[in-house]
C-alpha cells in the first residue's frame, strides 16, 4: 500500500478495457431511425465473422417469383429464367437488394446487442 498508484492505474486500464465496449453498446438515440433500447453493436470490422448456416435458397427457383411480378402489370416482359433483379423491379428493386447476412453488420436499429452476429439455419 505504499505505492497505490500502479494499482489504481491498472484498475483504471482494466475499466477502460472492459467498460468502454459496454458503453459503446448504449444507444444515445442520436439521429438513428427507430432507435431502441440498444445501439446495433456489431462493428463493421466484425462483419467477416457473421455466418449464415444455410446459404442456399430453399426456394430452389427464385425465378419463379418473376412470374408473379409479371402478372402484376409487367406482362410485356418475357418469362425467361434470367436472374436479373432489374427486370420488372419496382421502387424497392431500383434501390437494390439488401446486403445478405455475413456481408455487413446488422442495422443500428437498437434491437441488437454487440454479441454474436446473427445466424440462420434452415432444416
Amino acid at each position: 500500500m505504499k505505492q497505490p498508484f500502479p494499482l489504481i492505474l491498472a484498475a483504471t486500464a482494466l475499466a477502460a478495457l472492459l467498460g468502454l465496449p459496454a458503453l459503446a453498446a448504449i444507444d444515445l438515440g442520436l439521429g438513428r431511425h427507430g432507435a431502441g433500447p440498444l445501439a446495433g453493436g456489431v462493428a463493421a470490422g466484425d462483419a467477416d465473422l457473421i455466418r449464415v448456416g444455410s446459404d442456399h435458397d430453399d426456394d430452389e427457383d427464385d425465378d419463379d417469383h418473376d412470374r408473379r411480378g409479371h402478372r402484376r402489370g409487367h406482362n410485356d416482359h418475357d418469362d425467361d429464367d434470367d436472374d436479373d433483379d432489374d427486370d420488372c423491379a419496382g421502387a424497392a428493386g431500383r434501390r437494390g437488394n439488401p446486403a445478405p447476412a455475413g456481408s455487413v453488420a446488422p442495422p443500428a436499429n437498437g434491437l441488437f446487442g454487440n454479441g454474436a452476429p446473427p445466424r440462420a439455419v434452415t432444416n
Binding site: 500500500m1 497505490p4 494499482l7 489504481i8 484498475a11 483504471t12 482494466l14 475499466a15 472492459l18 467498460g19 465496449p21 459496454a22 458503453l23 453498446a25 448504449i26 431502441g36 433500447p37 440498444l38 453493436g41 462483419a47 457473421i50 449464415v52 442456399h56 435458397d57 430453399d58 426456394d59 430452389e60 427457383d61 427464385d62 417469383h65 408473379r68 433483379d85 423491379a89 419496382g90 421502387a91 424497392a92 434501390r95 437494390g96 437488394n97 439488401p98 446486403a99 445478405p100 447476412a101 455475413g102 455487413v104 453488420a105 446488422p106 442495422p107 437498437g110 434491437l111 441488437f112 446487442g113 454487440n114 454479441g115 454474436a116 446473427p118 445466424r119 440462420a120 434452415t122 432444416n123
Partner: protein
C-alpha cells in the same frame, strides 16, 4: 486503499452492464406444408404504441417482392437498409428456420411485439401472420401462424 476500491468499483460498474444488456435469442419458425414455393418472411418489432422499431430478419433476398410483405413494407417503405446484414434465403414449405440473434434485454417485458409477415409466390399474402409479445413468460412457447407458419418459438 480508497482510490483502489473506487477504481475497482468503477471497473465493475462499467463491466456488468455489458454482460447484462443483451442475450442470445433463437427464433424457430416451422412452416406448414402449404404446397407452394419458398416463403418470404419478414421479422420485425413494434413498440407498445404499435410503431415500427426495427427489423430482426428477412428471409428472402430480392427486394422487388418485399411489397408482398405488406405490413413490413408499409412500415419501412421497403427500405433495404432496414435489413442489410440480416437477410437470408427464403424458406421452403415444411422447413424449419432457426435464427439466432443477440437481442437487447430491454426488448422483453417492455411492451414490444414481434411480428412476422409472410408471402408465397402465386398464393395469398399474409401480413402479420404472427404477432407475439416479447415477454419472459413467452420464452419457449410455440405460437401458431395464420396461413403459412405452423409455429414460432423464441427461446
Amino acid at each position: 486503499m480508497k482510490p483502489l476500491l473506487a477504481a475497482l468499483a468503477l471497473t465493475t460498474a462499467l463491466t456488468l452492464p455489458g454482460l447484462a444488456l443483451a442475450r442470445p435469442v433463437t427464433l424457430t419458425t416451422t412452416l406448414n406444408a402449404y404446397g407452394g414455393d419458398g416463403a418470404y418472411l419478414a421479422y420485425y418489432v413494434t413498440d407498445a404504441t404499435g410503431a415500427y422499431v426495427g427489423s430482426l430478419w428477412m428471409a428472402g433476398g430480392k427486394s422487388k417482392y418485399y411489397e408482398h410483405l405488406s405490413d413490413w413494407y408499409a412500415a419501412t417503405g421497403g427500405d433495404p437498409a432496414q435489413i442489410n446484414g440480416i437477410t437470408g434465403a427464403s424458406v421452403g414449405a415444411g422447413r424449419d428456420l432457426e435464427i439466432t440473434l443477440d437481442l437487447a434485454d430491454a426488448l422483453f417485458d417492455a411492451g414490444y411485439t414481434l411480428h412476422v409477415d409472410a408471402a408465397v409466390e402465386d398464393m395469398r399474402d399474409s401480413p402479420n401472420e404472427i404477432a407475439v409479445p416479447l415477454t419472459s413468460a413467452g420464452l419457449g412457447r410455440a405460437v401458431p401462424g395464420r396461413r403459412y407458419i405452423a409455429s414460432l418459438t423464441y427461446r
